[in-house]
Symmetry: C2
Subunit: 146 residues, 2 copies
């Protein structure tokens, strides 16, 4: 008998960012700049998701502020239901397709079956919160040139 060890790298690397739903990036940006004692280093619209994003660095991690671009935005709906607050946790992965397959096999519910383009030049996939104790989980993989 010979043990078969799968050496393929499958792992969550770190918390890449925490997404926070806010009414106004202009207002929240200055609050989080004071909180983290740093500056917003990038803002970016993701029109496919109807959100404006702003990023702050905190050591190896980021805070992503999310403002709705219109009333149909998932962020507008989140805030209407629960108020401003933490929207999701994003974990960095090296191979998003491998992680999606692993997690699907373990019974987690993928909200998109193929990786999609997210903010910050990432490929992303979301997991349904009902499989993760109410937490909206994002997987994200850096793309070339980032």
């Amino acid at each position: 008998m010979q043990a078969v060890i799968n050496l393929q790298y499958l792992d969550m690397e770190k918390i890449e960012h925490i997404g926070i739903a806010v009414n106004s990036i202009a207002d929240a940006g200055s609050i989080y700049e004071k909180l983290l004692n740093t500056s917003v280093y990038k803002t970016e619209d993701v029109t496919s998701e109807s959100v404006r994003t702003a990023f702050l660095q905190c050591g190896p991690n980021k805070i992503e502020l999310l403002e709705a671009l219109n009333d149909d935005s998932p962020i507008a709906k989140f805030i209407a239901k629960r108020g401003e607050g933490i929207h999701h946790i994003a974990f960095e992965v090296k191979d998003i397709r491998a992680e999606m397959a692993r997690l699907k096999g373990d019974g987690f519910i993928l909200l998109n079956e193929e990786p999609k383009q997210g903010a910050d030049n990432k490929l992303v996939c979301f997991l349904h919160p009902k499989g993760t104790n109410g937490v909206l989980v994002e997987l994200c993989q850096n793309q070339e040139g980032n």
Copy 2:
């Protein structure tokens, strides 16, 4: 004229952990072990806060699962109001008293005026969510021997 530069180290080092309120650490622990492809490495009761905690490592960051020890626990109240989900973000700081003073001076509302003993051998202080866009923020400083 001479510029005065304050060289005292004041910074948020990283996201130390994300606290997630769950009904059962036994159940949620196995879900997060699958999600993060790792094992719960420590459980600890913090009786002063009426919570049981379980920790999982994710690179430089941790996930802290939080289960209420009784109905008066802040975690029981959080779950009764909003269901399971993300409860707080904890940032690691080197000098918690200096950061508390800095943030108080910037208008943030401290929920405890003196650092208190938290889980995982930390000194901790919480900021009121109404000053941070609905996010309960924890500052935490490692203590000696940790």
